[in-house]
């Protein structure tokens, strides 16, 4: 057997093993996500100050989730937002919650397939939150966090707030008994 053939065999075996490992890992993860109970889902939500979230969000958007264009919009400055949300750590908690919110919408999807659209919208929202928080992480690394915080943080919080309203509206529209638990948790 030539050295090249040996290299080919080893490399292909490693690739095949790696692909199999990835499949098994993600299949297991998918099963865990889909088999989560309602209590398990709620327990994954980080506790956040909902009044502060609402205050910051409604400073930037209206009750329909549209950007406010009046003169009183976006009056909170970076320091206020930092204090109310708990800095970058607080935003990271919202980022984690945004993923749980998708799972909460997907939970309903097990019995109401039409919830797919809400879950899909939430995925886009969660992607937006991730993008904004990543920008802030980069800003922190380069020492520019203060300059960028107000804008990115408020956008993150507004998006998160819209996500919570969407999930609550979904549970409300289906008259699901878990709505009360959810209202308490969010």
């Amino acid at each position: 057997m030539t050295e090249r053939t040996l290299l080919f065999l080893i490399a292909t075996s490693v690739l095949a093993a790696l692909l199999l490992a990835i499949i098994f890992y993600y299949r297991k993860r998918a099963q865990q996500t889909t088999s989560s109970s309602w209590d398990e889902l709620l327990s994954r939500l980080n506790s956040v100050d909902r009044i502060s979230i609402e205050l910051i969000a409604l400073d930037a958007i209206d009750e329909f989730g549209q950007p406010r264009k009046d003169d009183d919009a976006r009056r909170l400055d970076g320091k206020d937002i930092w204090r109310l949300v708990g800095g970058l750590d607080g935003l990271e908690l919202l980022e984690q919650n945004s993923v749980v919110l998708i799972d909460i919408a997907a939970y309903v999807q097990r019995w109401y397939p039409e919830a797919l659209d809400t879950a899909a919208e939430l995925r886009l929202n969660a992607g937006t939150i991730q993008w904004h928080v990543n920008r802030l992480r980069l800003a922190e690394e380069s020492g520019n966090l203060e300059g960028w915080f107000a804008n990115y943080a408020q956008n993150t919080i507004a998006t998160y707030y819209v996500m919570t309203r969407r999930v609550l509206a979904l549970y409300d529209s289906k008259s699901l008994p878990m709505l009360t638990d959810l209202q308490r948790a969010l």
Partner: protein
């Protein structure tokens, strides 16, 4: 090229399998949802027929060029099926998120690079350059497809995208077949065609048998209706029971007041 009884049986079985699957796709109205997958199955029916005719009445050169033309079309359509499945899985909100698109593109670039690197490293023993092209071509296609399917599964779970039943079934079939093919092509490349062509032929038979299993899986799963679970979760059932009990209690209370 001499064909054994087993060769002819596998050839006929593949043809019947493809025709049956095409019928299922048409009869159960799946063509509109999976046009590229349907085109792939249709192309396979045409390929089997044309190659059988050329094998019986044509020349070796005609067979070689027709085989390769269809092989290229096959890989193109399989890549099309990957895109079709990706659009079913990731485009649920009528738009792709930037991060998903970016990650998929990077995964595809990485997959092409790895598959190309491995194919370059492969040095099968052959008598003619055509045989080298045949073995290397089959290997790169198997490596690329398995990488792409695994990548899609990983990304969809990571981003919490649901897999609709039929998309999942087509992906499972193609993904499992691609993974098995990767292992088979590795062995075929190692043995080559020079020393003992029986190994190559046996592995080819095994590959077709695996494909027939995959075809049967598609025929059964694509025929069936999507099973949507209508069973309520325990918590919902418990809360509804409590609500019913408390309503009954209130009614009893109202009735006792009325009697007074």
């Amino acid at each position: 090229m001499h064909l054994t009884g087993l060769d002819l049986f596998l050839w006929a079985a593949t043809f019947v399998g493809h025709v049956s699957l095409l019928f299922v796709l048409w009869f159960r109205n799946r063509i509109r949802s999976f046009p590229i997958f349907t085109a792939l199955i249709g192309m396979n029916i045409v390929r089997t027929t044309v190659l059988f005719i050329i094998q019986s009445y044509g020349t070796k050169a005609q067979y070689f060029y027709t085989f390769w033309s269809f092989a290229i079309l096959d890989v193109g359509l399989q890549l099309g099926v990957v895109c079709e499945i990706a659009s079913h899985v990731f485009q649920t909100a009528r738009e792709w998120t930037d991060s998903i698109r970016r990650q998929l593109i990077w995964w595809a670039i990485g997959s092409i690079a790895i598959a190309t690197g491995l194919t370059w490293a492969a040095a099968p023993e052959t008598r003619m350059w055509k045989q080298t092209v045949l073995i290397k071509g089959s290997f790169i296609s198997a490596a690329l497809m398995s990488e792409l399917f695994v990548g899609m599964i990983a990304l969809s779970v990571q981003a919490r995208f649901p897999w609709s039943t039929y998309t999942a079934r087509i992906s499972e079939g193609l993904g499992a077949y691609s993974m098995a093919t990767l292992a088979l092509e590795m062995v075929r490349t190692y043995f080559g065609l020079k020393s003992d062509s029986h190994v190559y032929a046996s592995l080819s038979h095994l590959r077709i048998t695996l494909y027939l299993i995959c075809l049967s899986y598609w025929i059964i799963t694509l025929w069936r209706d999507v099973a949507v679970s209508s069973e309520m979760p325990d918590l919902m059932r418990k809360q509804l029971r409590e609500l019913r009990d408390s309503s009954a209690q209130h009614i009893r209370l109202l009735e006792s007041w009325r009697r007074r």
